[in-house]
């Protein structure tokens, strides 16, 4: 029961250049992003600036622009780019057989 990866659904449910959300009961909501070439990334859905929902931002290359005040956050490292400073946790995610798998430990970080 302690599998390393959690299957959260088929990858075709993620729009290209878009994101979907994954609430974690008792933990932080996760945003899962898909870039133009189909790569998938996951971050805690909270901008390091003032907690804007990153899942609602515009995805470009491997960054997302926060919808609230336009900070750019790297999907790879979770760090704010450019002048801004701050970091949001990255959740390991991978695709296997068309399914999205998310790292259990990181997803449940903070959940008792």
């Amino acid at each position: 029961m302690n599998a390393e990866w959690l299957d959260i659904g088929p990858v075709d449910q993620l729009p290209a250049l878009g994101a979907r959300t994954l609430p974690v009961q008792g933990g932080e909501e996760i945003a899962i992003f898909r870039t133009a070439n189909g790569s998938v990334y996951a971050l805690v859905n909270k901008c390091p600036h003032k907690h804007g929902p990153l899942s609602q931002g515009i995805v470009h290359d491997t960054t997302v622009t926060c919808p609230l005040h336009n900070w750019r956050i790297s999907l790879i490292t979770g760090e704010a780019l450019g002048e801004d400073e701050g970091c949001v946790p990255v959740i390991p995610v991978k695709i296997d057989g068309g399914r999205i798998l998310i790292g259990r430990a990181a997803a449940l970080a903070g959940v008792m």
Binding site: M1, L6, D7, I8, G9, P10, D12, Q13, L14, P15, A16, L17, G18, R20, T21, L22, P23, V24, Q25, G26, G27, I30, I32, T35, A36, N37, G38, S39, K50, H51, G52, P53, Q56, G57, I58, V59, H60, D61, T62, T65, P67, L68, N70, S74, I76, T77, L81, D96, G97, I100, A107, L108, V111
Partner: protein
């Protein structure tokens, strides 16, 4: 004639299996007695040539790699048409489908891949074909002989080659691709779009972003239905959505299998006497779907087995599309990311797009369209991880240029070194000498050079060069400033240039604009994409297809995002007038969806705050049911028409200001604009509706209507200017429509009317709207035409299920239990 040499059995008579045998024989022809079992009833052929075979450019004879004489000469026992069905590791035997049992000393599994079939309803109907072997090609050719329609599911390399072949064989082909761009794993959006338009001009129908719901037919394929309801007739359906390593046998045998059969650097599996090679293996976490890595694997395999081990280290791959006349190349990683720098070259007249990606002075990726001559050179630089900093500026022009010395690293020096008769602007045939003469004649800015000698006035790709010539000629006097700033860092063109080109060159979609105007980035940025989306929808109201990813969040969600990530919802109240029924519906919605606040807005509307993203479609459905539509309180669009009570009730009222406001709002709602747009109508000069700080204001007077323009509240308060006075309500409406259209067509994206009016001048607007009656009428009818496409309630569409994914979580994690998505 059984020899007592150890017996090597190869399972799979395909590309990797036979190549491995060739490599072994080349090193040592004597160690093994070799048998090859093949499921296909034929000799070893070149699978990648199935595409030209389908297209009629080759025959089967042409694509045979090893004919019967090769097996004979090397004493290889070929057992074709008899697949191996079991391996007994304890006794070291294999069993074939025919029942034949053979003992092995070494076993080599080279079973390749299986095409992946999406399990939609109807996928088992006769007429659903994959594209993997000769039998598949046979089935396709048979169908093509009968003619008719073909559907290819999958717009990757295989699918497009299948589509090309079938279309050359006379079938009418439709390609259905799930992702928004073709070959998205190999190509970026720009190249994918060029490819799509080239294939369309050859008569294929390409549907991107299209999801198959079912294949239907009575006993055989008759067509394909998409999830959006579209229906495409077809006599055959080719599934080319991907491949999966064929690991069935290895799994049943108990070998270690991940995505593929796991092997070490010498291609040995978890059993020391069993090796595996080709597409069926997983090495160091990677599986491959192209032949180049297989050749490397086969070399390491043979070396490890009969010579000095020379371990396999993984492969970098490149892709070329084998469709005659279309040059497409891709290698490495083009997803960008930190530290990556894009160098883009576009040549719209030749249909060329080149992009190389440099990171830490190394080439990490390349995408080429239309001119792939330098593909191998880039691939070589990439594989060798060569330092390219010394040829960085010349890199994109290709090998001949870069190794011929290329540009000097200092751009001004490079310009100084150019001959006077060297061509600067290819579009207009302008030489450096002519540009210098033009500068000498007093042109001291880019715009002046463009006007004077036409250099850089067409495609703009030489703008940087012209600016360098200016800097060289004028030294410190060159301010580098341009009167009209380029739209953004992706282009040297101004907003006005871009809008003009969209009309003149009939550009219809974003990648087309970027190609035609030589955008310097592959897919723009978050500042030019929304602007281009707007310019296109304004220029081509009847044809425009929305690009939701080029919209800011509020316009994508049709609601206003708030600082806690919830949304506020504002239903439209025409002219600020509501009814008890509407109020009851709003109150009910506020209760039902836990609106944390209900606020009267500055624009005479009710705003429900704190609505969750998931609840948006249902709250809209409830409000729709009570007759209300989206208030567009979130958009670069017509916001509200504010009115006072006017002559209906007020003792000062001179005209029916409320009635006029309601009519104006019915005429203008739904319209997208360069920025938000507000209207107000006051019934007398007391101006209770504050019409003098609106984009378009009306003040009613006894003798008619005063029309006011260009006002706004906000940080820089600006009162309106008087445009003119008209005497009838109809005129007020007509002038309003014409003014809005002028603003829509000529203002820059994100300019409100106030700065726009200041820039172009009140006189200009008066001339266009007041003095030029014909022009006014044309503007008005263009506005009404556009409105016929835009007045669709986005809430109703969403409530009915459109873009449902925007509102739903993909899944939910409850610790220790996972619930799947919708």
């Amino acid at each position: 004639m059984m020899s007592n040499k150890p017996h090597l059995i190869v399972i799979g008579n395909g590309m990797a299996g036979c190549r491995a045998v060739e490599e072994i024989l080349a090193r040592d022809g004597d160690t093994f007695r070799i048998s090859i079992f093949g499921a296909e009833p034929r000799v070893n052929y070149n699978r990648i040539m199935l595409s030209p075979l389908l297209a009629g450019e080759k025959s089967f004879e042409d694509i045979i790699i090893n004919g019967h004489d090769w097996y004979q000469d090397n004493q290889i026992d070929l057992v074709s048409g008899d697949p191996v069905v079991a391996v007994d590791r304890a006794n070291k035997t294999i069993t074939a489908a025919s029942g034949r049992v053979e003992h092995y000393d070494k076993l080599l599994i080279a079973t390749g891949s299986d095409p992946f079939i999406i399990p939609v309803p109807g996928h088992k109907l006769p007429g659903v074909i994959t594209f993997r072997d000769m039998d598949d090609v046979g089935a396709m050719l048979e169908a093509a002989n009968r003619g008719g329609d073909a559907v290819v599911i999958g717009g990757g390399l295989l699918g497009l080659e299948a589509a090309h072949g079938l279309s050359l064989r006379g079938m009418k082909v439709t390609v259905i691709h799930l992702m928004p761009t073709l070959m998205e794993r190999q190509l970026d959006e720009a190249a994918g779009w060029l490819l799509k338009s080239a294939l369309e001009s050859r008569g294929q129908t390409i549907l991107t972003g299209a999801d198959t719901a079912e294949i239907y037919g009575d006993g055989k394929v008759e067509g394909v239905r998409l999830k959006d309801g579209r229906d495409i007739p077809a006599t055959i359906v080719v599934m080319a959505v991907g491949i999966r390593p064929n690991t069935k046998l290895a799994k049943e045998t108990g070998l270690a299998v991940g995505r593929g059969i796991q092997v070490d650097d010498d291609m040995v599996t978890s059993d020391a006497d069993i090796l595996a090679v080709g597409e069926c293996v997983e090495h160091d976490g990677n599986v491959y779907g192209l032949v180049a890595p297989l050749w490397d694997m086969c070399r390491s395999l043979a070396a490890g087995l009969v010579a000095e081990p020379n371990g396999y280290r993984g492969s970098v791959t490149s892709t070329k599309l084998k469709v005659a006349g279309l040059d497409v190349f891709s290698a490495g990683d083009f997803s960008g990311g930190e530290g990556c720098e894009d160098i883009v070259l576009r040549d719209a007249t030749r249909g060329v797009y080149k992009r190389v990606i440099v990171k830490d002075d190394r080439l990490v990726g390349a995408v080429l369209y239309g001119d792939t001559a330098d593909g191998n050179w880039y691939f070589d630089l990439l594989k060798k991880e060569e330092d390219v900093s010394s040829i960085r500026d010349a890199l994109i022009f290709g090998q001949a240029f870069a190794s011929g010395g290329g540009l000097s690293a200092n751009p001004i020096e490079a310009v100084a070194g150019m001959a006077d008769d060297a061509e600067v602007c290819g579009c207009n045939g302008v030489t450096k000498g002519q540009v210098m003469a033009c500068i000498g004649g007093g042109a001291t800015s880019l715009d002046a050079v463009r006007a004077g000698c036409k250099a850089s006035a067409s495609c703009g790709s030489c703008t940087g060069l012209v600016e360098n010539i200016l800097a060289f000629a004028m030294g410190d006097d060159y301010a580098g400033e341009r009167e009209n700033k380029p739209m953004c860092k992706c282009t040297s063109f101004t907003h006005e240039d871009v809008r003009k080109a969209i009309i003149d060159k009939e550009l219809k979609v974003i990648p087309q604009v970027m190609q035609a105007l030589s955008w310097s980035t592959p897919d723009g940025c978050s500042s030019c994409r929304p602007a281009l989306n707007y310019y296109l929808l304004c220029a081509w109201p009847g044809e425009h297809e929305e690009d939701p990813q080029s919209r800011f969040v509020n316009e994508r969600m049709h609601a206003n995002i708030q600082k806690d990530g919830t949304y506020s919802v504002v239903p439209r109240m025409w002219g600020g007038v509501t009814t008890p029924n509407e109020l009851r519906a709003i109150a009910d919605a506020a209760d039902k969806y836990n609106a944390r606040m209900v606020k009267v807005t500055g624009g005479q509307r009710l705003d429900l705050f704190g609505i969750k993203k998931e609840d948006l479609p249902s709250i809209w459905a409830d409000l729709n049911a009570a007759g209300m539509v989206s208030g567009h309180a979130y958009g670069k669009a017509l916001r509200t028409v504010k009115t006072c009570v006017g002559s209906e009730w007020c003792r000062f009222g001179t005209q029916d200001s409320t009635g006029l406001g309601i009519k104006l709002e019915h005429m203008t709602w739904g319209s997208w604009m360069p920025h938000k747009f507000k209207i107000a109508v006051s019934g007398c000069p007391r101006n209770c509706a504050e019409a003098t700080i609106k984009d378009f204001g009306v003040i009613c007077v006894d003798s008619g209507y005063e029309l006011l323009i260009g006002g706004n509240g906000g940080i820089h308060l600006r009162g309106t200017d008087l445009l003119c006075k008209v005497s009838t309500e109809q005129e007020a409406m007509d002038y309003c429509a014409a003014f809005i259209q002028l603003y829509r067509e000529e203002a820059r994206y994100l300019d409100r009317t106030a700065p726009w009016v200041e820039r172009v001048g009140l006189d200009y607007v008066k001339q266009r709207i007041v003095e030029d009656a014909t022009g006014r009428e044309a503007l008005r009818s263009r506005f009404l035409y556009a409105q016929s496409f835009l007045q669709i309630d986005p809430w109703a569409e969403r409530a009915a299920g459109k873009e449902a994914h925007l509102h739903q979580h993909i899944a939910e994690i409850r610790p220790f239990a996972v619930v799947g998505g919708h």
